[in-house]
Amino acid sequence: MFGSILSSGLAVGAIYALIGITYNTMYSTSRVMSFTAGQLGMLGGVLGSLFILKLGLPIFAGFLLTLAGCALVGFVTELVAVRPVLKSIEQHLYVLSTLALALMIQQVTAIQWGTEPQPFPRLFGIGSGVLDEKFWLPVAACAAVVLGLELLYRRTLVGRAFLAVAEDNFAARALGLPERHLRVFSYVLAGVIGGIAGFAAGELMLAFFANGPLLNFYGFVPVALGGLGNNRGAVLGGLALGVFQQLANFTVGGVFASIAVFVLFIVVLLAVPQGIFGSAAARRV
C-alpha cells in the first residue's frame, strides 16, 4: 500500500516536475508562460505510440522522432505565438496566443488520433509491481533531464549564454549575445523536455489527447508553488505534488484528491503569490 502510493506518486510527480521544467525553460528566455507545455507532454505520448506501435519503428528511432516532433512544436510556438506578442508583453497577449495554439494542437490530435486513450508500447520490460518500469521510467527521465540541464548550464558556452539571457535580457543583449537565437533554442529545448516527459509517461498515462490540459494544470502547480523559473522548486514541488495526490487518491478517492490538490494550490498561492522559492515582485511606480 505505502510502497505503491510512493512509487506511483513519485512517478506522476516526476512527470509534473518535467512539465514544470518545460514551463520554466520557455519562461527563462521570454518571460512567457506558455499553455503549450502540457500539450508537449501529451504529444510525447501520442507521437511515441504513433511511431512505435502504429508505424512499427524501432523504439530508439521512435523516441528520436518523437523528440524531433516535439522540438518542432516548440519551435513553432516561439515563431507563431510568442515572438509576435513579445513587444507588448505588458498586455499579456501571450496568454491568449499560446492558449490558442495549445487548443489547436489538442484539436488536431483529437481529430487525427482519436479521443480514446490508446496504448503505449512497453519499452524495456524491466521491473514489476511497485518497481515496474512505468513507475521508475519517469523518475529516471526526470533525473536525466535535471542532470543534463545542469551540465548544459554549467559546462557549455551556450548554456551560460542561456543563463545570462534568463538573468537579464537587456544586459545579455548589450553584451552581444544572440538573444533571439537563444530564445528559439530554449523553445526547441523545452519541446524536447516536454517530449521526454510525455514519452516517459506514456506507459502510465497512455497516448491520450486529453492529457494536455491535465498536464498543463498539474505541471503548472509546482512551478507556481516553487517560483517561476526555479527548476529546483519545480522538481521538489512536482514530486511532493505527485505523492500528495496519490496519497489523497488512495485514502479519500479520486474526486477529493483533485479537490485537495486544487485547494492546496489556491491556498499556497494566496499565501505566497510569488511562490515558495520565488522572489518578490518588482517596483511598480
Binding site: 498543463n216 507556481a224 489556491i266 511598480r284 511606480v285
Partner: protein, 603 residues
C-alpha cells in the same frame, strides 16, 4: 468603448435622460439585432429557433463575463464552471431529488444566487494572482466542478445525468423558451451596459490598463472586482438554469472546456472594452458550426485559430474595427490652450491650515538610501518645488506621500494628523491627487473617460444603483460629466474629449493627467515632472495653469528638472541630493546657494 455607449448619458445640466452623443446612433445596432431576433421564429424553422435560443443563453453568460474579461482584463478562462453550477442547481431543485421540488422559476433564481456566490469564490484569487496564475486557477476550478458533477451521483445523477427544469406554459414550447431567453438576454445587455458606462465600468478599464493610476484615483481593485464577479456569476448561474431547460437533460459532458473557450473567445474576438463586439462574437461563434456542417468537427480548431489571428493582427477585435469616432482624423491645430477660469468649480475645498508635513522620513531599497532623514512641508495654496539630480529621491518622496512606498522611518502628517503609510488607495479620499513621470492612461478609452476616472471617489452611488441606473447614479454621472468637461477645458483639451487617448501626443497626455487629477477637487496636487517632453511654449502655459491651481487654495508639490519653471512659479524650493536636503528656501535664496549652483544648476 465609444461604439457602445448604449446608456443615455444626460447632457450636463439638462437631466432629461435623452442620448446626447451621436443622436442615439450607438443604440441602433442593438435595436436591429433585437428586432431581427424577435422576427426569427416567424421564419417557421424551429431548428434555427433552437440555435438562436442557445446563442441568447450564451450571451446571458458572456454579457456578464465580458465585464470581467473585456473590461477588467481578468483572464477567467474557466467560466463554464458557473454555467455547470447553475444548470445543476436549477435541475436538482426543480427535479426535487434532494429537497421537495421547487417551482422552476424559483429554481432559476436560486441558480443565479448560487452563481453569484461561486463567482465570488472563483474570482477572488484574481486579487492576488497574476494573469496566467488566475487563468490556471479558473481552469482548475472548471475541471473540479465537472469531476464533482460526475462523482456526486446521489444528487447529480453522475454520468447518467438528470432532467433539466421543465418550465410552465407558455415557456414549454421551443418558441416560448426562445422568447423567454431573448428577454433575459436583452435585460442582461441593458444591465451590463449600465455597469460598463458607469464609473465602475471605467474603473474596470482603469484596473486593466493603468492599475497604478487607478489606485491613485482611489479605485479599489478588490471591491470593484468582487462586485463584478458576483454580478457576472449571477448571469452565469441564470444562463446555466436556462441552458438546462433548453437541453431538457444534462450530463457532465454537456459542459466541456471547449464551451468555456467559446465564451472567452467570443469576448476577445469582439474586442475588449466593448459590448457590441462580444455580442457579435457570440452570435458568430454560435452560428458558425451550423453554416459549415462538414467542418463541425473542426469548429473548436477554428475558434482557436480565430483567436490566434485576432490576437496577432487586431488585438482590439471587432470593436476596434467598428470604432470610427475614436479614429477620426486629427485636427491640424492641436495647441493646448488652458483656460484657468474653468478651475473655479473644481477647486472649491478652501483648505487651509498646516498642510502636509514630512518628518524625518528615511527609506532605503536594500542598501541604497533613497531618502535619508527628509523634512518637507506642502502648504495649502502654495507651490513647493522639489529639484535635485537624478537619483536624489524626488520621485520617491512623492511616492511616500502618495502611499506607493512605505518609509522605514518617519511619517507624514496631513492637517496635523498622522497619515497611515503605504496606502495609495486612501489618498484620493483625503484630497490628494498625483500625476506620473510616465503618463499612465488608458489608451483604449476616450480622453473624456480617462478624465472621468479621476472622479471615482467623489461619486456616492453604489454598484447596485449603477446596475439599475437609480437616481443617485444619474446624479453622479451628471456631476462627473460636468466636472470632466470643466477639467478638460481648464487644461486646454476640450476639443479632444471624444478621441481615443492613445491618439494623443505626449504633451497632451501630460495635460490629460492633470485634468484627471483635478477631478478629485484636490486639496493637494503632486506633479511628477509635468514639464518633461513639453515645448517651451507649453511649459509656459503649464506654469500659468499650475500657478492658477495654487491660487485657488490647492497645495502643489512640483517635482521637476526644468529649473526655469521651478524658479518661475514656486513659492518654496527644496533641493535634494542623495536623499538629503541640500538647501531649502525661496527661489531667490536657492539661486544664490553656492552648493546648489555648483552641484546642480551650474554656473
Amino acid at each position: 468603448m465609444p461604439t457602445d455607449t448604449l446608456t443615455a448619458v444626460p447632457r450636463a445640466g439638462a437631466g432629461s435622460g435623452a442620448p446626447t452623443r451621436g443622436a442615439g446612433l450607438p443604440v441602433l445596432p442593438y435595436l436591429l439585432i433585437f428586432l431581427l431576433a424577435c422576427a426569427l421564429p416567424l421564419a417557421g424553422d424551429n431548428y434555427w429557433t433552437v440555435i438562436a435560443t442557445r446563442a441568447a443563453i450564451y450571451w446571458v453568460l458572456v454579457s456578464g463575463l465580458n465585464l470581467i474579461v473585456g473590461y477588467g482584463g481578468q483572464l477567467a478562462i474557466g467560466w463554464v464552471a458557473l454555467l455547470t453550477l447553475g444548470a445543476y442547481t436549477a435541475s436538482v431543485l426543480a427535479g426535487g431529488n434532494v429537497l421537495p421540488p421547487v417551482p422552476p422559476f424559483a429554481a432559476l433564481a436560486v441558480a443565479g444566487a448560487c452563481g453569484g456566490l461561486f463567482g465570488l469564490v472563483v474570482g477572488l484569487p484574481a486579487l492576488r494572482l497574476r494573469t496566467f496564475y488566475f487563468a490556471m486557477a479558473t481552469l482548475g476550478f472548471a475541471t473540479i466542478v465537472t469531476q464533482i458533477a460526475l462523482a456526486w451521483q446521489d444528487v447529480t445523477g453522475g454520468g447518467i445525468g438528470l432532467p433539466g427544469p421543465a418550465l410552465p406554459a407558455p415557456f414549454d414550447s421551443e418558441v416560448g423558451l426562445y422568447y423567454l431567453c431573448l428577454a433575459v438576454a436583452a435585460a442582461c445587455t441593458l444591465l451590463s451596459a449600465s455597469v460598463a458606462a458607469s464609473r465602475f465600468g471605467r474603473g474596470l478599464i482603469a484596473i486593466r490598463d493603468a492599475e497604478v493610476a487607478a489606485e491613485a484615483c482611489g479605485i479599489s481593485k478588490a471591491r470593484l472586482l468582487a462586485a463584478v464577479f458576483v454580478f457576472s456569476g449571477v448571469f452565469a448561474g441564470v444562463a446555466g438554469g436556462l441552458f438546462a431547460s433548453l437541453q431538457t437533460y444534462i450530463t457532465p459532458e454537456a459542459f466541456t472546456f471547449e464551451l468555456s473557450v467559446l465564451f472567452f473567445i467570443s469576448i476577445l474576438i469582439g474586442g475588449r472594452g466593448s459590448i457590441l463586439g462580444p455580442l457579435l462574437g457570440t452570435l458568430i461563434l454560435t452560428a458558425l458550426p451550423e453554416f459549415a456542417a462538414p467542418l463541425a468537427a473542426w469548429s473548436n480548431f477554428l475558434y482557436a485559430a480565430m483567436l490566434l489571428v485576432i490576437v496577432l493582427t487586431v488585438p482590439g477585435g471587432i470593436a476596434a474595427l467598428l470604432d470610427f469616432r475614436g479614429r477620426r482624423a486629427r485636427d491640424d491645430d492641436r495647441r493646448v490652450l488652458p483656460d484657468p477660469s474653468r478651475l473655479q468649480r473644481l477647486l472649491d475645498r478652501g483648505e487651509s491650515g498646516r498642510g502636509i508635513e514630512l518628518q524625518d522620513v528615511s527609506l532605503h531599497f536594500g542598501g541604497v538610501k533613497a531618502i535619508d532623514g527628509l523634512d518637507l512641508a506642502i502648504a495649502p495654496g502654495r507651490i513647493h518645488g522639489l529639484i535635485g539630480p537624478n537619483g536624489s529621491g524626488k520621485t520617491t518622496t512623492l511616492n511616500v506621500i502618495s502611499g506607493y512606498v512605505t518609509p522605514q522611518q518617519g511619517g507624514v502628517r496631513q492637517a496635523g494628523a498622522p497619515v497611515p503609510m503605504g496606502q495609495p488607495l486612501a489618498c484620493a479620499g483625503r484630497g490628494l491627487a498625483r500625476t506620473f513621470q510616465t503618463p499612465r492612461i488608458v489608451g483604449d478609452a476616450t480622453v473624456l473617460q480617462n478624465v472621468m476616472m479621476g472622479g471615482h471617489v467623489r461619486a456616492a452611488g453604489t454598484f447596485v444603483e449603477s446596475v439599475f441606473r437609480l437616481p443617485r447614479h444619474r446624479r453622479d454621472e451628471r456631476a462627473l460629466h460636468q466636472d470632466a468637461h470643466d477639467a478638460l477645458a481648464a487644461v486646454g483639451l476640450a476639443g479632444l474629449a471624444h478621441l481615443r487617448a492613445d491618439r494623443l501626443q505626449h504633451s497632451e497626455l501630460r495635460f490629460l493627467e492633470i485634468a484627471r487629477a483635478l477631478m478629485l477637487h484636490p486639496a493637494y496636487l503632486l506633479l511628477d515632472e509635468p514639464a518633461a517632453g513639453l515645448s517651451a511654449d507649453e511649459i509656459l502655459r503649464l506654469g500659468e495653469l499650475v500657478r492658477e491651481i495654487s491660487r485657488r487654495g490647492t497645495g502643489v508639490l512640483l517635482v521637476e528638472h526644468h529649473a526655469d519653471l521651478i524658479f518661475d512659479i514656486c513659492d518654496h524650493v527644496t533641493v535634494l541630493n542623495l536623499g538629503r536636503v541640500l538647501a531649502s528656501g525661496t527661489p531667490q535664496e536657492i539661486r544664490q546657494h553656492k552648493e546648489v549652483v555648483s552641484a546642480y544648476l551650474g554656473a
